[in-house]
């Protein structure tokens, strides 16, 4: 079943080449004179309207997570994997509330990153550093997930993976990676924004065909659900328990709800998602998008069902088992066994490009964070915009290299854990950022200590979770039993609660002792402002540097 197919590979290669050309050409798209400015490279000149923003945010949010990781979890564990649908249903109403305030204050003060905002709001370099560090750290496993997705396609295509030479084995992944790194370097955010059109066209085509064509070939949805149920209720010899279930069991309800809620709260804390928000031209663009982005949720829900189709397709489950029981292979194998070679190539291209675009956006956002909030803040306060852009370009390469480390260091049975691990970390910046949009009540040092405690707790708790059926392994899952309530809960949520409690208690203490609260450079009306986009905004190099403070 796993053998090299020249037609599939050829089509994948052609589409990949097209995207690479578009990526480089994007440098010229909507270009302005001030090219070497971080607002240009990192935010596309803050010029994107409803339409481009929709594609950009969609390109951000629906990634290899959607096409590989979620179906893999559904394939292996059944209903539990559907928390992802619930997550993408909840996320937009939540973001609807606070994102416009964040956009407005960022526009007024020229903030490029979430840490810029935290620094301006709380007058705290330490808190801004915490936010920046978390953003860069949490982005790496998320990019790693994209690489795992690309790797799954290449494995099924049998490219390189048959070789015993380690270099040849990883060569295709490295080539894809270098192309991504090169056009991101040259074109900045314009590259993924422009490629997102190609990507989404391919993905919608792939999904519509897969959802209609595969069930017909497999003998209907009733058959798919019934075969899936048989697979899921069978006992796993490793754990001695059923593989999963077709409907969430009462014992899994807390985990399901908290995984969905935690992921939804965490998503727009990621620097790349905030970048997509900041790049919008007007305030209205964001709320309007929250009403039309659920189109992507529908795609995610339908794609998740591919996991069941893979269980029902003859031979797929056996091939997955024969290849190290790697459930990430289930969707690529399903395509290969159901589609003619040429359409398999299109489907594979959709997955690969759907992983490259977000990887580009994520690395740009993480690089901006480092440059603005670490490099300029602590090392070179007088860096010119051109130097800042140059540093960001190189850091975007480093971030991708860091992601490779996560791929190699953690090889979990379910790649979704990479994203969930990032979620545990990034959610801990929520109190500083979102509470800060509404109130200055929290004390900056209380937020720092709450964040630190939650980061340590979350990391240790995640480290201690073994892979199912493999005691003694680490980072094998993202949910753990909470002692007092006795339910299994997403670690991000339990850490978040610890974070909030500490922040509230210490704020009360610090306020009682009248510890200095730091200066706030923002004014209430900045949070609702909607300035017209100006051709050449006089933007301070460092937020606040030109203010009187």
């Amino acid at each position: 079943m796993m053998k090299f197919n020249a037609v599939s590979f050829g089509i994948l290669l052609v589409l990949f080449a097209v995207v690479t050309v578009v990526g480089f050409a994007a440098a010229r798209w909507r270009r302005t004179e001030n090219v070497l400015h971080l607002h240009e490279w990192g935010l596309g000149g803050r010029s994107f309207g409803t339409f481009v923003t929709w594609f950009l945010l969609g390109g951000d949010l629906y990634t290899a997570y959607t096409f590989i990781a979620v179906p893999a979890l559904v394939f292996g564990a059944g209903a539990a994997g559907f928390f992802a649908l619930s997550y993408t249903i909840m996320v937009f109403p939540i973001v609807f509330v606070f994102a416009p305030r964040l956009w407005s204050v960022a526009r007024v003060h020229g903030y490029v990153t979430p840490a810029d905002f935290v620094r301006g709001r709380y007058g705290s370099r330490g808190l801004a550093l915490a936010v920046a560090f978390t953003g860069v750290l949490a982005t790496m496993p998320y990019i790693a997930l994209q690489l795992v997705g690309i790797e799954a396609v290449l494995t099924v295509l049998h490219i390189g993976t048959g070789s015993s030479n380690a270099f040849v084995k990883d060569l295709p992944l490295i080539i894809a990676f270098l192309a991504l790194a090169a056009y991101t370097f040259v074109s900045g955010l314009r590259a993924p924004a422009l490629i997102a059109f190609v990507k989404d066209a391919l993905i919608y085509l792939m999904v519509i065909v897969a959802i209609i064509y595969i069930p017909i070939r497999l003998g209907g949805w009733g058959h798919i659900f019934s075969v899936a149920n048989t697979h899921l209720t069978a006992t796993n010899p490793k754990t001695g328990k059923p593989n999963g279930s077709l409907v969430v069991l009462p014992a899994g309800e807390w985990a399901y709800a908290t995984l969905a809620l935690g992921s939804a709260l965490a998503l727009f804390m990621y620097p790349h998602a905030i970048t997509g928000v900041f790049a919008a031209r007007r305030r209205n663009v964001i709320r309007r998008n929250m009403a039309i982005l659920p189109a992507y949720s529908l795609v995610l829900g339908l794609v998740a069902l591919l996991g069941y189709m893979a269980l029902a397709a003859p031979g797929v489950a056996a091939t997955v088992k024969a290849n190290g029981a790697n459930p990430q292979l289930s969707v690529p194998l399903l395509f290969q066994s159901m589609f003619p070679s040429w359409f398999t190539g299109i489907g594979f291209a959709a997955i690969v490009i759907g992983a490259l675009v977000p990887a580009a956006i994520m690395s740009i956002a993480a690089a901006n964070l480092f440059t603005r909030n670490v490099f300029v803040e602590f090392f070179k306060p007088d860096a010119t915009p051109a130097l800042q852009t140059r540093v960001s370009q190189f850091v975007s390469l480093l971030v991708k290299a860091g992601a490779l480390v996560f791929v190699l260091a953690l090889s979990p049975s379910f790649s979704i854990n990479l994203q969930l691990l990032g979620g545990i970390w990034i959610l801990q910046t929520f109190p500083a950022i979102v509470a800060g949009l509404y109130t200055r009540w929290f004390h900056r040092w209380a937020l720092v200590i709450g964040w630190a405690a939650a980061m340590v707790f979350g990391t240790i708790a995640a480290y201690r979770v073994p892979s199912p059926g493999k005691p003694g392994t680490h980072f094998g899952g993202s949910a753990d039993t909470v002692p007092l309530i006795g339910h299994t809960v997403y670690i991000a949520i339990s850490a978040f609660v610890i974070n909030l409690v500490i922040s509230v208690v210490l704020t009360l203490v610090f306020r009682a002792f009248r510890l200095p609260a730091g200066t706030d450079e923002t004014l209430p009306e900045h949070y609702t402002a909607d300035p017209e986009p100006a051709a050449a905004e006089p933007v301070p190099v460092i937020a606040g540097a030109t203010e009187t403070g």
């Binding site: 249903i89 937009f92 109403p93 949805w221 969430v248 004014l523 009306e525 402002a529």
Partner: protein
């Protein structure tokens, strides 16, 4: 433009929008509502079609919330911008 009490209208619009958004989040957050296989819709167990139905519902709820909370009318494209802080009411 002669509506009485624009401030109060905006507040009530926000309350209504918040309720809609809360419903949108709660719909799939409360798992016991839909952790069952019946009633099935076609071959789809309840668990699946219930959540898929929520996608367009949430889009509609968010759309209504958007219309409710849209900033006060200003001629689109004209120079007169609705500067939220500056245009205090003249009373």
């Amino acid at each position: 433009m002669a509506h009485p009490g624009p401030e109060r209208r905006r507040t009530s619009a926000w309350i209504l929008a918040s309720i809609l958004l809360l419903i949108a989040v709660a719909g799939t957050l409360v798992v016991p509502i839909y952790a069952r296989s019946t009633p099935a819709l076609g071959s789809f167990p309840f668990f699946y079609w219930y959540q898929l139905i929520w996608v367009p519902v949430v889009a509609v709820l968010s759309g209504i919330a958007y219309l409710l909370t849209r900033p006060a009318k200003s001629a689109p494209g004209s120079g007169g911008r609705s500067a939220a802080g500056g245009a205090g009411d003249a009373r």
